[in-house]
Point group: C2
Chain length 249, copies 2
């Protein structure tokens, strides 16, 4: 008896999402530099939830209501906000147990575009192996949505998508069909020995270097320094392990 294997595919930017989404109810959103790396870091370090919002105005409304709110545009913290999307910010012990509102140039936009789907989880190089293992167990079609840069293709998200696809395909339990998935896997394989060096030509890394954010970049490009998988529940990103525990009990 033969079963059709589930598919794992990559979509390179939010603008293309509607071309790819049919048949996918499990979406992995990635924005390696830096939104999803920051979100994984926050959840790993005990932040209770991240509320992703589209606009700076919406984040400002939350701020006025007394929420901790983070806003980043063009790689910089937006004026009037206490924090942006540097992953190190979210290691602060003061944020343990807190819920933080977040808006970023690309990553939160991608999350919002996918939010109508059954399952939306957050991926980064930081939680690569943990995420890959979990995806293999799901036995469902997986679409990886790269946040890109202002609706354009970007290299770092493509490398991360390729790494996830490569890992999941190695299980032998999935297939890939789209050219974007094939390309992402090729790019990951040529980059994986030294992602930091490979990305020296990347436009966003150059952008962040100009802003003296090299430490952030190095952290975000380090695979498997985290294990948390954030998942969207009622509009809030929370730890998958808490959700799974709640289901079990």
């Amino acid at each position: 008896m033969e079963f059709t294997k589930p598919r794992i595919e990559a979509c390179f930017s939010p603008r293309e999402f509607h071309q790819y989404e049919e048949g996918f109810e499990l979406i992995v959103v990635i924005d390696v530099l830096r939104a999803t790396s920051a979100i994984c870091t926050a959840i790993e370090h005990g932040v209770k939830g991240i509320i992703p919002v589209d606009s700076v105005e919406e984040a400002r409304d939350y701020l006025k209501k007394g929420y901790i709110a983070a806003a980043e545009r063009e790689g910089k913290i937006v004026e009037g906000f206490p924090i942006g999307n540097s992953p190190f910010t979210y290691m602060n012990p003061e944020f343990k147990g807190e819920t933080i509102v977040l808006t970023t140039t690309n990553g939160t936009k991608a999350i919002k575009i996918a939010q109508h789907k059954e399952t939306v989880v957050i991926g980064a190089l930081n939680n690569l192996d943990s995420l890959t293992e979990w995806l293999i167990d799901q036995n469902r079609n997986v679409l990886i949505l790269a946040s890109g840069w202002k609706d354009k293709f970007n290299l770092e998200d493509t490398i991360c998508a390729g790494a996830i696809i490569d890992g999941v395909l190695k299980s032998g339990k999935f297939i890939s069909d789209e050219d974007s998935s094939v390309a992402a896997k090729f790019i990951y394989k040529s980059a994986k020995e030294n992602i930091f060096a490979y990305l020296k030509a990347s436009s966003h890394r150059r952008r962040l270097r100009r802003l003296n954010l090299n430490a952030d970049v190095k952290y975000c490009l380090t695979p498997n320094n985290l294990t948390a998988i954030p998942i969207l529940k009622d509009g809030i990103l929370v730890a998958l392990k808490h959700v799974e525990k709640a289901v079990e009990s």
Copy 2:
């Protein structure tokens, strides 16, 4: 004294064109499988002009008026049309000096999207070196528009874009800035020794193989079997050499 070098960039699908087009008045449209390979073949073999049209209906109107009209959708000749977009069709000596109307799934759509630009030329692997040399001489920003497959990224157009970018950058007279251009160059470099084998995973090659079009695919993936460069003049694709001669005289 320093001059800023012109840029050569790649855009992966017509849907993303508006994200990339600012600052570019010279566009290279590519649809390797098979529209732009067929157009280059037609112009090389003496077809006077190709009129690209968006819809099958528009092509049918031309057909009724007595034009030779070609229509392809999903890799097949549309019912009621004498020809589709197989390059071999356009080697027919009967078409010498004729003007042919053409509509295809992706390629003609990409041409129409770019038609408001000052200069639109047609690229393929078939006319790679000839096109690359000409582009280097232009000393203008060049945007390569890949037709993709129904607004999705595709491998064969990306390889061709990467080949053009690689060739033009080797002159030392241009720069690339976009991540898409960097990725296209990487993909071309890993594919160039055997493009046909590299593309065995490509979704469109599989599609054409099912339609018994392997000979077409092999032809389209052969670099430099042509030298013609088609250019859009008043809505018709004609031989660049004729346009340049007319300007000189």
